[in-house]
Point group: C2
Chain length 224, copies 2
């Protein structure tokens, strides 16, 4: 077969992608980067990995063309190479959730309270935002909010929520979101808010899932 070499080359290229996402740590790093640009140090801390190790994984991701970086002063900031990488990540996790009962079991075991959060989907939230009858709360760290948040959201990182909950309007329902369906911050936030008497629910997705639907995402530190 004269086509052998062609096929080998072609599938070798595609396998670069597979190789890049064949490791738990790299998938976690990509998920973090889907929230926005981050330094090596931030990535290492947030993924509980040694910096050297993080750097090595980032090197692999860079060689696979999934991430890009730029120097900014002393720091090196990494980011996803483009939005299609984020979409691919979503597709991978979607297939994982579908094919692996272990994923569902692990998530249910750790976020067992999830069903009680009355999770709301992106489509319904969009309608409610348009109707203006919900307060949308981004509980991620402030820099991730700045890097990109759902239009109309206000930012209160979950570790400041105890102190700042009182600033939230009492009457309206609150919807909290965080990094994505496997992130605990929104779950914690909803639980905290409910204990204080707010009517709070959890968004099933994070910014990447919201953006993938073509819904509006805003950059900047202040929601209007």
């Amino acid at each position: 077969m004269e086509h052998r070499e062609f096929k080998d080359r072609l599938y070798t290229q595609f396998a670069r992608l597979g190789h890049a996402v064949s490791t738990p740590k790299r998938l976690e790093l990509l998920d973090l980067l889907a929230q926005g640009e981050k330094t090596v140090e931030q990535l290492a801390e947030q993924s509980c990995t040694a910096i050297k190790n993080t750097s090595a994984h980032l090197r692999v991701l860079r060689q696979a063309g999934l991430v890009d970086f730029r120097r900014e002063g002393v720091y090196v900031r990494y980011r996803l190479a483009d939005e299609y990488v984020a979409e691919f990540l979503l597709a991978l996790q979607s297939l994982g959730r579908q094919r692996y009962s272990e994923v569902r079991e692990v998530v249910d075991a750790h976020l067992e309270r999830r069903d009680e959060m009355e999770p709301i989907g992106p489509a319904e939230l969009r309608r409610r935002l348009a109707a203006g009858d919900v307060t949308l709360l981004d509980v991620r760290p402030a820099d991730e909010f700045t890097a990109g948040h759902i239009a109309g959201a206000i930012s209160i990182p979950v570790d400041q929520l105890t102190a700042r909950a009182a600033t939230l309007p009492r009457g309206k329902k609150i919807v909290a979101y965080c990094r994505g369906p496997y992130c605990v911050m929104a779950v914690d936030a909803v639980q905290l808010l409910r204990r204080r008497g707010y009517r709070a629910r959890r968004l099933t997705d994070g910014v990447p899932g919201w953006r993938a639907r073509g819904y509006p995402v805003v950059r900047g530190s202040r929601a209007s």
Copy 2:
């Protein structure tokens, strides 16, 4: 961090998927299986791999939950676990094409004649099929046609095309398709048909891409 174990478990699961598609041979096997059920022997032959080796790769794919199998007499027939696996494959290859100039270069170098084939996309083909002004030709092996083909297509495997080309209607335009955008069979078919005076074009996609759009796919050995 108490969540560490949760995250590790979760991303370890997702990494199973990545690991499964981190090898050229496994990607090639999945692509072949996207055409329909095949025996180990067929897969080994069509991927130019030793049977033992093929079996080992299929084992990995099985453990990753991407393929399923059943015994049928002496043979073991493998198939994709479900349609979402095929969609994921398409997503992976789409990102690969987008991110890797090597993919485009390799494809262009090997299928250099591709642009001359006046490739037609699925959406346009669908309109033309509805209008009834094209003959749709499936040039894959007969068993892949039987396992699933585009509604309205007729089957002439590319290696029988020389003998059977005369049965094609002269007046209508012909659109040929094969396994997908990286398969050479349709390119060869179009070239052969044009030398004989037919007006032939090539479909940019195969059955998996057609199906993923929700367009009609038919099983069975005869197109009506």
